[in-house]
């Protein structure tokens, strides 16, 4: 009997049918969350697109160092997805210490990403950019859009690191199992996928 069948029928005998999706309820809930969060990010990016199209003198503030920083951030986040995949495989294979080790690498990469992100932000603050500030004298919408979209993504990365830390602790203590690790990995990969839109649209489209 599969894990999903075990979950669905535990304590209820044959009264409950297996999930038509063939996944555990917590994983299905994560898919629902991911779908709704995808729409949230899409709405934020559409709002940014709306502001940008409507502004004839939209600024392009990013020089090569900022783009290079974004490239490093992309490398770090994509690598964290790979380490997360290794962690899930190890957890599924019952290799607990290996899984915890790779979850640790994933968290470390998430923290590096957040640190690089904040470094970029503080550099922009030093140049005079802000939520409602534009040092070039053009529309202030750029700061509002940039810091909102990247801030929302950064919040997701930080939340993801915290979630992985909680799952790792629970998994280490035997309170949680490999399915919890797998469900958390869905969220982490989603955050990675969102960055695949944020980097080109927020950085590359605004490169000089």
């Amino acid at each position: 009997m599969s894990d999903s069948e075990l979950t669905m029928t535990a304590g209820h005998g044959a009264l409950m049918e297996e999930s038509p999706y063939g996944v555990q309820s917590k994983k299905l809930a994560m898919w629902l969350f991911v779908a709704s969060d995808a729409v949230t990010f899409a709405a934020a990016l559409v709002a940014y697109g709306f502001l940008r199209i409507g502004s004839p003198d939209w600024p392009r503030p990013f020089e090569w160092p900022s783009i290079a920083n974004g490239l490093v951030m992309t490398f770090v986040l994509l690598s964290s997805s790979l380490t997360m995949l290794v962690a899930v495989r190890a957890a599924k294979a019952g290799l607990k210490s290996k899984a915890i080790q790779w979850l640790g690498f994933t968290m470390l990469l998430g923290i590096i990403f957040a640190a690089l992100h904040l470094r970029e932000w503080f550099h922009m603050f030093d140049e005079g950019w802000g939520l409602y500030k534009n040092p070039t004298g053009g529309p202030v919408d750029f700061g509002a859009a940039f810091f909102s979209v990247t801030g929302l993504h950064l919040l997701h990365v930080i939340s993801g690191v915290v979630a992985i830390a909680v799952i790792t602790l629970g998994y280490n203590r035997g309170r949680l199992d490999s399915n919890h690790v797998e469900t958390t990995s869905l969220y982490w990969h989603f955050v990675d996928i969102v960055w695949m839109f944020v980097f080109p649209l927020m950085y590359l489209m605004n490169a000089r």
Binding site: P20, A35, V46, S81, L82, L85, H189, D192, I193, L204
Partner: protein, 100 residues
């Protein structure tokens, strides 16, 4: 479970390298300085390709039951398409500001 199946680590590393290569292409195209609308089209197409790869392989959608895909993906895409009614108003704002 369906998710016990899946690609080997070699395949995952190959996908990771492929995604990095796509990001490299995005940066290379950007510094060719094409027209904004052309750049946007290329970047969006590449971003959707990356998202599809991530969804299918990293998130294991390819190895789940088809009903999961057909439940979530078309509905999410439909909502994303429904957001696109705002562009006409954005271009109207652009024209109005040019007249000011």
């Amino acid at each position: 479970m369906a998710t016990d199946q899946g690609p080997s680590m070699t395949t995952y590393v190959g996908i990771w390298v492929g995604l990095l290569a796509i990001v490299g292409i995005e940066v290379a195209v950007t510094y060719q300085h094409p027209e904004t609308k052309d750049l946007l089209a290329v970047l969006l197409i590449l971003a959707f390709v990356e998202a599809a790869i991530g969804l299918l392989f990293f998130m294991h959608m390819k190895y789940e039951r088809k009903v999961l895909f057909w439940t979530f993906v078309p509905i999410t895409l439909f909502v994303l398409l429904m957001m696109d009614h705002v562009w006409a108003d954005a271009f109207r704002m652009f024209s109005l500001r040019l007249l000011q």
